[in-house]
């Protein structure tokens, strides 16, 4: 199965200058666990912020999410894979890097996101299509 077939194309992003609280609002509204953090300054790189970052780096430490820039807690650089990469290789990369999602990039542009759930579903569909494999 191609990565293109399983990736999420609709990416939710937030500017790195936005507050962590705004990121939390967006995640709650959209019922998602991560946001692409777009660099607000040329010196910055794009990154990703997850619910895990919000909890461990801000909330659990008793910090005020309204006073912290989301860019300050985002993980960088983005883990990108080309869109013609195989699902198996992506799964191996995720295991090696201990991450739950990777971005799919095409010529430097992020075009999609593949999460563990997508990989699991792809594997299940593959098993169903090849029952005696």
């Amino acid at each position: 199965m191609k990565l293109e077939e399983i990736m999420t194309r609709k990416l939710e992003s937030i500017a790195s200058d936005a507050s962590v609280y705004e990121a939390i609002e967006r995640m709650v509204d959209k019922r998602i666990r991560s946001l692409l953090v777009r660099a607000s300054h040329p010196a910055e790189l794009d990154g990703v912020v997850t619910a895990r970052d919000v909890v461990f780096k801000v909330l659990a430490k008793g910090l005020n999410p309204m006073k912290i820039r989301v860019g300050d807690i985002a993980c960088r650089p983005l883990r990108c894979v080309p869109k013609d990469e195989t699902v198996e290789n992506v799964a191996a990369l995720m295991e090696q890097a201990n991450v739950a999602r990777v971005f799919v990039c095409d010529g430097g542009t992020v075009v999609g996101l593949v999460a563990l759930m997508d990989i699991m579903q792809a594997a299940l569909i593959d098993r169903a299509r090849n029952p005696h494999a």
């Binding site: 077939e5 609709k10 579903q121 299940l124 569909i125 098993r127 169903a128 299509r129 029952p131």
Partner: protein, 208 residues
């Protein structure tokens, strides 16, 4: 497993063959629809209409064989329900092609529509596989789950389309209606295939 419930005559064999043929035709129509949405070759619309007519013939054949006495009586309602659901899915493919012929698909939703058609086709292929496994008495749990996963993806894409649909310009009432009907039938297919796979699963469970 279905063969286990045959009563020694050839009617069951004939019904199963006709059911397989019905599913094959549905899959061919689904494939043609994907091709139509990708290539925009409108002559494929007629091909889908022809396949639907052939599908109708196959459905009538299955039902008449069942009413002539194929299979044990308690199995017949569920078998007929499965056949009717497959036929309803066939009708949605025909409707999708008909409405597609009447609209000019807007570029902002073209990709989503193509992906839905492709998922529909995959669901259909898995349903055939599930049918074959059920006939052999094998478990179809994994196929039912895969169909459910794909249906969820179609639902997500439907949501994406509905978020964008207000940006699509429509010339008049009828243009808007055809658009809405096109999207309705394109996305209804997956629900019917899911229902058909559930009906098949119920049949296999009742054999245990």
């Amino acid at each position: 497993m279905l063969k286990k419930f045959m009563r020694g005559n050839r009617k069951e064999e004939a019904a199963l063959t006709a059911m397989h043929e019905h599913l094959d035709l549905l899959c061919a129509a689904g494939h043609t629809l994907t091709e139509l949405l990708t290539s925009n070759a409108k002559d494929l619309v007629e091909k889908i209409f022809d396949l639907e007519r052939e599908g109708d013939t196959a459905r009538r054949r299955v039902l008449s064989i069942i009413f002539e006495g194929a299979f044990l009586p308690y199995l017949r309602p569920n078998l007929c329900r499965f056949v009717e659901l497959v036929d309803e899915a066939f009708d949605t493919v025909e409707d999708t092609a008909r409405y597609y012929d009447l609209i000019a698909l807007h570029p902002s939703i073209t990709e989503e529509c193509r992906r839905i058609a492709s998922f529909n086709q995959q669901m259909c292929e898995i349903l055939i596989l599930a049918f074959e496994l059920a006939v052999r008495g094998e478990d179809i749990r994994e196929q039912v789950l895969a169909i459910r996963i794909l249906e969820k993806r179609v639902d997500d894409l439907k949501g994406d389309i509905y978020q964008k649909i207000h940006e699509v310009p429509v010339a008049d009432f009828w243009q808007g209606k055809f658009y809405a009907d096109f999207l309705q039938s394109l996305t209804a297919f997956s629900d019917l295939i899911e229902d058909a796979s559930d009906a098949l699963y119920v049949l296999t469970v009742s054999f245990r």
